[in-house]
């Protein structure tokens, strides 16, 4: 059983507070806490991205969102005795929380840092239909400098490898390594495909990039093409993204006009063409081999892997498939260097992640934040907290195929690895927040209905498994022996994980098993 804490404390640890002795402060604080009546009732968590800046050693106490700042060791006793034992806020040490400051002035609470943006830095700033505005922000200078300085392809890949960029589509595979496989593959033809078939329920991060800064994606594809030796690219955009398609068509035409696409770019002999392919709305076509099948004019069923698309992809030729967000990171990395990119995010997962926040929060939308951010900061900062005075119940992280967590996940610094350690996946970065009004069995049924609908039917475990799981979720309503059904669902989803052909059937175990783990009692 999880320990029930009365208070959660977020202690801001960054280079500034470290210099001010926050570690020593923390040690004494924890020691004194253990000796006090509040022992075992308070959870102290370190947070790397401070909500408060320039305020010395500072902490945030939940519930109540109380911000203490300019703390010293001599304040510890008072905070523990007054606040954590007796529940009285030590007002002489508080500063107004960001949200309160804004609310008291009649404004909306918002605590996001737009300067930390890489891929969305120009979305919502420049005119996406005017290539001149992309030039104004050093557009096409990354590919230009590569081609004019005759930077060898292997050096480009080395920069991407050193940056530590991982694929932002969901699986988080290192982009540089993926490119290198295809670079090494000998073939008369190679392809770059931009996967813009954004179909994860509740995710629309790629749409913002496609609509807001289409040239950034084109430039990323050009660099990828040069690095692996491809001369043709396709952008597979889901058909519903009408505006994305139109903006991208316009952007491609403009790029051709300036000879930034086409033959002999920058006089280097490198040629590259890009075409758009519209998707027809199948979830499974976001899976790379199903996407390729669909591009070849066949039914969108996944292929057996290996061989991987990196060596045997479109029409059997070596093919790179990268997500929109991944490609949007490429030009900035080339322009500013791998070290710059590594200054964002965490050691293992550098850079930023674009999160789509939706569900029962006050403000839904899309936000780009450094890897290592916590869900608490996303939900209570950008999202403005839970709407309509409801309380937090669960968060479905990474899209439908991700895990559903309770509040224990809120203070985990998010990146591909940490979420995996907690039995989930960061996936597409969808943050679907569920409040106390949601029935978790209903929610599970809803998720399973989606998967049953989207299963392509090629392999038995997924075709039968999704239908069977949906039935079982319905049986739960009237059943007197829910434990048996739930454990059978766990087992079935595990079997599907081991035997399904593609990630669609494999990943169902994440929502099924996590809902059983965290919300067993209420189902």
């Amino acid at each position: 059983m999880m320990n029930i804490y009365t208070y959660y404390i977020l202690l801001n640890i960054d280079d500034v507070t470290l210099a001010e002795g926050v570690k020593e402060f923390e040690e004494i604080f924890k020691k004194k806490l253990a000796d006090s009546e509040a022992k075992g009732k308070v959870k102290v968590l370190e947070t790397g991205t401070p909500g408060i800046k320039g305020a010395g050693i500072s902490m945030i106490v939940y519930p109540g969102n109380v911000h203490y700042a300019h703390l010293s060791v001599s304040d510890i006793d008072e905070i523990i005795e007054e606040h954590l034992v007796k529940g009285r806020v030590v007002s002489r040490l508080t500063i107004e929380p960001v949200a309160e400051r804004l609310e008291s002035s009649g404004l909306n609470p918002q605590d996001i840092k737009l300067q930390d943006r890489i891929v969305l830095s120009e979305s919502g700033v420049i005119d996406p239909e005017n290539i001149t505005e992309y030039f104004a922000v050093q557009g096409y200078e990354a590919i230009g400098s590569i081609l004019e300085n005759k930077l060898p392809d292997i050096d480009v890949i080395e920069i991407i490898k050193n940056s530590g960029l991982k694929g932002r589509g969901g699986a988080g595979f290192p982009t540089g390594i993926k490119w290198d496989f295809t670079r090494k593959a000998a073939a008369e033809k190679k392809f770059i495909i931009c996967n813009a078939d954004e179909g994860e329920p509740g995710t629309f991060k790629d749409r913002l990039i496609l609509e807001g800064n289409p040239h950034l994606v084109i430039e990323g594809m050009l660099i990828a093409g040069y690095a692996v030796g491809a001369s043709e690219g396709y952008i597979y955009i889901r058909g519903e993204y009408d505006l994305s398609i139109r903006r991208m068509e316009k952007a491609l035409a403009q790029a051709y006009e300036y000879n930034l696409l086409g033959k002999n770019l920058f006089g280097s002999g490198f040629s590259f063409d890009i075409k758009i392919k519209k998707g027809a709305g199948a979830y499974v076509c976001g899976e790379e081999t199903a996407l390729i099948e669909s591009m070849e004019g066949k039914r969108g069923n996944p292929r057996l892997k290996p061989p991987f698309p990196g060596t045997h992809g479109l029409w059997g030729y070596p093919t790179i498939i990268n997500n929109v967000e991944t490609l949007a990171n490429i030009a900035p990395i080339i322009l500013h260097g791998a070290a710059w990119f590594r200054s964002f995010g965490t050691e293992k997962c550098p850079g930023t992640k674009v999160f789509t926040i939706l569900g029962d929060v006050r403000y839904t939308g899309v936000v780009e934040l450094p890897m290592g951010i916590t869900l608490r900061e996303i939900i209570y900062g950008f999202g403005g907290g839970i709407k309509e005075n409801r309380s937090f119940k669960a968060v479905h992280l990474g899209g439908s195929a991700g895990a559903v967590f309770d509040e224990s996940i809120l203070d985990v610094p998010l990146d591909y690895d940490t979420v995996k350690e907690h039995g989930g996946m960061l996936g597409s970065g969808a943050v679907l927040v569920l409040s106390n009004t949601v029935n978790m069995r209903d929610y599970l049924e809803n998720v399973l209905l989606f998967f049953k609908h989207e299963s392509c039917g090629k392999c038995v475990p997924c075709r039968v498994g999704t239908a069977r799981l949906l039935d079982m979720s319905k049986e739960l309503i009237a059943s007197k022996d829910k434990d048996t059904i739930l454990s059978a669902m766990d087992k079935l989803s595990e079997t599907m994980f081991k035997t399904s052909f593609c990630p669609l059937g494999q990943s169902l175990k994440f929502p099924v098993q996590s809902i059983n783990r965290y919300f067993h009692d209420e189902i």
Partner: protein, 120 residues
Amino acid sequence: MNLEELRKLREKGQREMMQRSDTSKYRIVVGMGTSGIAAGAREVLKAFIDEINTRGIKDVIVMQTGEKGFSSREPVVEVFEEGSEPVLYGNIDPEKAKRIVEEHIGKGNIIKDYQIIVGK
């Protein structure tokens, strides 16, 4: 195309973006992503242009951009003024657009009720 030409284009682009605010005191930028358009950004854009024309204001330019991510508060509009921090407005409709022209552009008063605050 070569790098030198590209740098010239960059300077030209930057100059154009600068000049807009040199010759015109204000720049109104309307978010025209899918969420914005669905929430009525086209009508808002039209309302801005109509109101500016009706009032005969000369030093304003109205532009479009993509989406910033404030989906639940679309249409989102940003007002740039030379030498000031840009002001971001959310949930704008044609009536509010007219008021922005009247108050913010006309009198220089930021309308706090419409404002979205973002952290720095």
